[in-house]
Symmetry: C2
């Protein structure tokens, strides 16, 4: 039984869609039998129209970080507060967290799950079979750093493309539709009336990240090649150009065939990340 | 004769294209008879990946502001420095300034001129007839606040769409092509060998700006309607929906037919601007 739900916006302060959507839903949405908390996760970064103030809040929820009294930056303190409010992680008063994000890459509706158990796979399958353009990313790591890891069950919704610090109606509407489908799933799950799921589900299992070309001083020496720009969740093959250096030279991909996403994502420039790499897997449901 | 030219990037710190392009051009470009200064205008905002630190640098070059000793914010001081380096405004050592910008709106190549005299019209016409997707904005005001107003002759290049804090190859390449066409024009102008220009030039004369819907506390109560999203430099007619309120209600446009641009531009959210309004004019050359 899932009763206590948190819908979180603004884990990254410059991703406006979730921030305005939780205000809207809080004002108008009432669902029988569900107790929903709406949380603006990083109000200070939202005020500053920045992803974060001191450190990425969505990388701050490892148990070891939550328990570390020496971490006193704004996001570390905020993570501890949120862990008190919704958690504590491992024994949380919140049954389920939906964390709302946007991307500057045109990835449509990407659902990120951190566990490939029947609950999360059925949830992802439910949404995917009801909305257009849904992809599923599976990113499982020990003691996850995501905010939503405070609850045992959770899902991250990542929708793009939209610039940061902007509300686009198409992205806003898709985010709302996704949240409403997730809540419908929860209601059916609680009433033991889930429709039959698909036989198998296509998921993209994250395995690595590629970095922008840099010189020995860490300065960028080129950019994403237009060959891969806007090709999120498509296949990258060995020998394809991935970077265009400012000298004019092209750099080609040397690895095994994989799926790429978060291509040229603005939020990743602080770490000079170029794109994420994943492998497509078909999981039985 | 135009001899001393400044090519300026990073007047807005989160518009990366110009910043990286001036580095590239400085390293590889040498043009006979032209003395080119490359200027990163707002290095502190670039470091912070923000449009500005204290105040928009590209609104800080009114003569009255340059002469005001009480204005001591970062951008005001930087404006005074730049005015010393490239100016002084009104009697400048720099003959011509190209200022490189990007927009989060899909406006293609937009050239902004602040004077509709033969030189600037011929320049805009030259570029427009050589590249795809060029529009001309004419924004003439007394004692302009733009950085480029330090020189008597100038042009602002605004290319989109790109998110802030990102290098897109398509936008980067278009910006480089535009700069090279401008320099070619200058060379021909200096050698008195300009090709014949068009008979007339279509320009968009800026006249006003529309603001996002807000409540009495100044909070946004809706967003750009998808009816006008991504319709930069197209016609807006009376009765068309322009805003979608969070309540679901639509707000329709009440004014006279006009052309809209900078629609849902991320940089304009600090002032809650929704789009710019202009009138199409045909100017004789």
């Amino acid at each position: 039984m899932i009763k206590n739900i948190a819908i979180v916006g603004g884990t990254h302060g410059n991703e406006f869609t979730g921030i305005y959507l939780i205000k809207k839903l809080e004002a108008e949405l009432a669902i029988d039998n569900l107790d929903i908390t709406y949380l603006l996760a990083n109000p200070k970064a939202y005020q500053a129209v920045k992803r974060y103030i001191d450190r990425d809040l969505n990388r701050s929820f490892k148990q070891s970080d939550l328990n570390n009294p020496e971490l006193t930056g704004y996001e570390n303190l905020r993570a501890k507060e949120i862990n008190q409010q919704l958690g504590p992680k491992g024994n949380a008063k919140t049954d389920f967290i939906i964390d709302l994000h946007t991307s500057t890459a045109p990835m449509g509706i990407n659902l990120v799950i951190t566990k490939a158990d029947p609950f999360h796979l059925k949830l992802a399958d439910y949404v995917k079979s009801r909305l257009e353009g849904v992809t599923i990313t599976w990113e499982e790591i020990e003691d996850h750093h995501f905010l939503m890891s405070v609850a045992e069950r959770n899902i991250l919704v990542e929708i793009g493309a939209t610039p940061q610090g902007v509300l686009r109606q198409d992205v806003f509407d898709k985010t709302q539709q996704t949240v409403l489908e997730i809540l419908e799933f929860i209601n059916s799950y609680n009433q033991d009336s889930l429709p039959e799921s698909s036989k198998e589900l296509e998921v993209y299992k994250y395995f690595s990240v590629a970095y922008l070309p840099q010189n020995e001083k860490g300065e960028i020496t080129g950019m994403i090649h237009q060959n891969i720009q806007d090709r999120d969740f498509q296949t990258l093959r060995k020998g394809e150009p991935i970077f265009k250096l400012f000298t004019g030279e092209e750099i080609v991909y040397q690895g095994d065939e994989c799926t790429i996403s978060f291509i040229n994502e603005a939020a990743y420039y602080d770490e000079k990340k170029a794109f994420s790499m994943s492998k497509k897997e078909l999981l039985k449901l």
